[in-house]
Amino acid sequence: MGPTDSPLHVSKRSGAVIHAFFIFYAALCILPLILVLSISLSDETTVIANGYRFIPETFSVSAYEFLFKDMDQIIRSYGVSIFVTVVGTVISVALTACYAYPLSRSDLPYRGFFAFFIFFTMLFNGGLVPWYLVYVNLLDLKNTLWVLIMPMLMSPFFVLVMRTFFSSSIPMSILESARVDGAGEFRTFVRIVLPLSLPVLATVALFSTLNYWNDWYLSMIFISDNKTISLQYLMYRTLLDIQYLTSNSNVASQISSQGGMLDLPNKTLQMAMAVVGIGPIVLAYPFFQRYFIKGLTVGAVKG
């Protein structure tokens, strides 16, 4: 159905203006990614001479060749990110569902206490310093994969979303009839409630996946060895290291006097690293965003 002249819709001319606007806006969203891709596929000397362009002036894959010569760290970091994302998301969804379900049961005594227990954490926190000390001194988790997983396991907001779904979409009568048929509470939860709750489980899983995949903060404060560096943090380090090398001529001359390589394709290498890092999320995006929009919509309507 195209725009018509009925007063329910905007006029044809306004419709065209709206389209033009959104095409412009869409370009604004996509072009930065194209710029990065184009730089990564350019020849370093042309880039230095003429600056970044949206279409490579001289095509070259040398940045990628350079990057793939030393692939161990990249593969390692990919592994860390994938592991943390998968394990983190699975535990996170399980933990959230286990907490949200009893909260949704209006017949459960003292559930107000447990609701307060989690929602109070939205109001007040101890701040970075004590929190950091708990993980580093008390639990001794510095430089482990667990420190990248644990802090993001449970978010009060996800619990809120799930509780709302359980209490508004799972009829009490289904639970009653399961009880009559002799199913225990946990069995009812796993066999009946969870299968009926796939939309909200998927929504929380998607948000959680995104949180884990994009996290660099936990790596930045808790990780100091290269073994447990996540992909995002590796990208951060690459950016900073090259910035540091190029802005600090002392370091640069030291490296070259020791026979190191200074003619590394800085700028294109940097952007090639960005492409390698962005890659998975952009490739998964079309699949991801459909469910994401659905999830957001459910959340917004349900409140």
Binding site: G51, F119, F124
Partner: protein, 312 residues
Amino acid sequence: MPKPIKKKKTMLYNLGKYKVLYLMFLPGVVFLLINNYLPMFGVIIAFKNVNYTDGILGSPWAGLENFKYLFGTSDAWEITRNTLAYNVVFILLNLVLGAGLAILLSEVKGRFTSKFYQSVMLLPYFLSMIVISYLVLAFLGKDSGFMNTSFLPFFGKEPIDWYSEPEYWPYILPFVNTWKNIGYYVVIYLAAVIGISEEYYEAAILDGASKWNQVRFITVPFLYPLMIVMTLLQIGRIFYADFGLFYQVPLESGALFPVTNVLDTYVYRTFLIGGDIGMSSAAGLYQAVVGFALVLLSNSIVRRINKDNALF
């Protein structure tokens, strides 16, 4: 739905009857105790003069020394001002552009095009702040960034050393923040716009309302509750800043600190880079306490407007 059992039962009876449900709380409770409640006791660090030989509990009390020192510097004012001012700008942009773009998008009638625009607008929301910092660098890099080598010369302007000129960042940061997050708000507002029954519009058309008047007198009023809730949720977090935006995107450039330093980056820098436990704890507690007050305030306002939307 059947009413909860009215008859008074003993606590032991309840615990026995619902033991499975209470056991389900257990993993979450343990997690919250470690991750959230234990650190709350750590706020005493802000009142201590921590040294490593005595440990945290053994270190001598410092009273309000850490706070006096913090508020005695110009930092306290600067970080408070930056945190609040940026967040106010972000909230306004999210509100106006989020609702505005959603209304515009609802006028795109082609299903495919509408979905396409939605998807593309949501794309930046999926990117991490590290990726965003790369994208910004590609545009603002000093020697080869697109702005300096293509855009500014085209208009006959001199190149700008973006990462050492603080005056531009109060515009760059809101731009980047909006660019990254607006898709999220648009999708939420769009769901609400689409949810408005067509009958209202049809009735308005019978009364001769123009498209503009329909938006003004039907769409926007229907969006008010959601707009208010979304805004108050952000006001509750107004004392917290997006660490990534203020730390990663300016590439930690020291020249930009006067306009990029916020409470979160300040606490991080004084603690993990500067090693000053006392001061950063004091700043952290200041942030937590004022943040607490603001959440309570905004929640009580939400409650007054619409009880269902209040968090507690």
